[in-house]
């Protein structure tokens, strides 16, 4: 299964970036092989608005089924839901640790956004 983890740098030992839409990088990881692809999120980091929406569309295009991140706002959550991507919030530690915990199966999926939208 392909999952996406928000990351501050470009490898599996990077710290998870708690932000979703404006994460520095988003790493798409194959949960079985740990093969990964790094998505540069610079364009969304600098976006005036709608960073979460575009980040969600971007990972949907990569065939991601689950997103592991820190916080997720309402527009991002709505887009992720439309793209049938499940969300796990409040993730910390490294990307590798996050994937390992996910593989253990004891994570619960968010039912709504866990932060307010930006104005």
């Amino acid at each position: 299964m392909k999952i996406a983890v928000t990351s501050k740098r470009t490898d599996l030992d990077s710290e998870v970036d708690p932000r979703f839409g404006r994460a520095a990088y988003i790493i798409v990881v194959d949960t079985e092989t740990l093969e990964f692809e790094v998505l540069d999120n610079t364009e969304n980091v600098n976006a005036f608005k709608g960073a979460g929406i575009q980040a969600a569309a971007m990972i949907s295009d990569k065939g991601v089924e689950v997103l592991l991140t820190g916080f997720c706002g309402p527009n991002a959550f709505k887009t992720l839901t439309a793209g049938k991507i499940k969300v796990v919030n409040d993730i910390s530690g490294t990307v590798r640790e996050a994937v390992a915990v996910f593989n253990l199966g004891n994570m619960s999926y968010a039912e709504s956004a866990n932060v307010e939208g930006h104005w």
Binding site: G50, I53, A57, T79
Partner: protein
């Protein structure tokens, strides 16, 4: 002739100056309150509202049965108001700035026009004055289209006095652009000076002649006056921090109603503005 009353800083007396100037001139004048987030000129002019209308902006609505998910609409949208994923398309009308790009680029004719309410316009008369103001819907982020709609009621044969919103960004630009003159209202405090400088920069960009009214002029320090001198901006009027003026304001009354002697001062203010416009003197 269009005179836009602006300030940078809020609470300096834009509405006080705009309403007293309009009332003093009396006939042949219209007031457009373009501070649509917090319109309050009506509190002083007490117009009889005769007409109102809701104002909408156009946002996209996707006919999904026509959509081929080509993404052209999402790609052209600078404000990320459309997202396309596989065979899913989402719109975020609250992010839309109504540029019309998505309507233009859709090859399938799948983007329909839908309205989002921006607010209301109310029109009426206050004595001999023509009065128009906008009221932005609470929660709406985009005021410039509503401000432009208020300004669409400009009647060229009249003297148009615009009460502009504070600040230096899109709303105040929408309230100043195309004006013949910008009358800045400030107070002689560090706060007033700081925001005045920012507002003057905005007026320079628009290349509109401007002059200054210093409100509560007998308090604070001299730095606003020094700045005006240095920038060659004429100080056209000073309103002292006077108890009777503050009392009139606190009761929603005009200075010129309570202190008729001020009429001559506001007339003189108008004559100065007229002279500056006619001399073609930029700033």
């Amino acid at each position: 002739m269009i005179i836009s009353v602006a300030s940078g800083k809020g609470g300096t007396g834009k509405t006080t100056v705009a309403t007293n100037l309009a009332y003093t001139l009396g006939t042949g004048v219209q007031v457009l309150d373009c501070d649509v987030e917090e319109p309050n000129a009506h509190l002083f002019l007490k117009p009889n509202i005769e007409q109102n209308e809701s104002v909408y902006t156009i946002v996209p609505e996707i006919h999904k049965y026509r959509c081929s998910f080509c993404r052209k609409c999402a790609e052209i949208c600078r404000f990320r108001a459309i997202a396309v994923m596989n065979e899913v398309i989402l719109t975020f009308p609250e992010l839309c700035h109504s540029c019309g790009g998505c309507f233009a680029v859709c090859p399938e004719n799948a983007v329909a026009e839908k309205g989002r309410e921006l607010g209301m316009i109310e029109k009426g008369r206050a004595g001999d004055l023509d009065f128009v103001h906008g009221r932005l819907r609470v929660g709406e982020a985009m005021s410039p289209p509503l401000i432009k709609r208020v300004r669409s009621y400009t009647r060229e044969e009249l003297i148009t006095i615009i009460d502009a919103p504070p600040g230096t960004s899109c709303p105040v630009i929408a309230a100043m652009k195309g004006a013949d003159y910008v009358l800045m209202v400030t107070e002689p405090t560090p706060f007033g000076l700081n925001d005045l400088k920012l507002a003057v920069e905005a007026v320079k960009l628009l290349n509109i002649p401007c002059g200054l009214v210093i409100n509560r002029s007998d308090m604070g320090d001299r730095r606003v006056t020094d700045y005006a001198e240095q920038e060659n901006i004429a100080v056209l009027m000073e309103i002292p921090f006077e108890r009777r003026i503050a009392e009139a304001y606190s009761k929603g009354r005009l200075i010129v109603e309570v202190l008729p002697g001020w009429k001559e001062k506001f007339l003189e203010l108008y004559r100065c503005i007229e002279k500056q416009i006619n001399s073609g003197n930029l700033r």
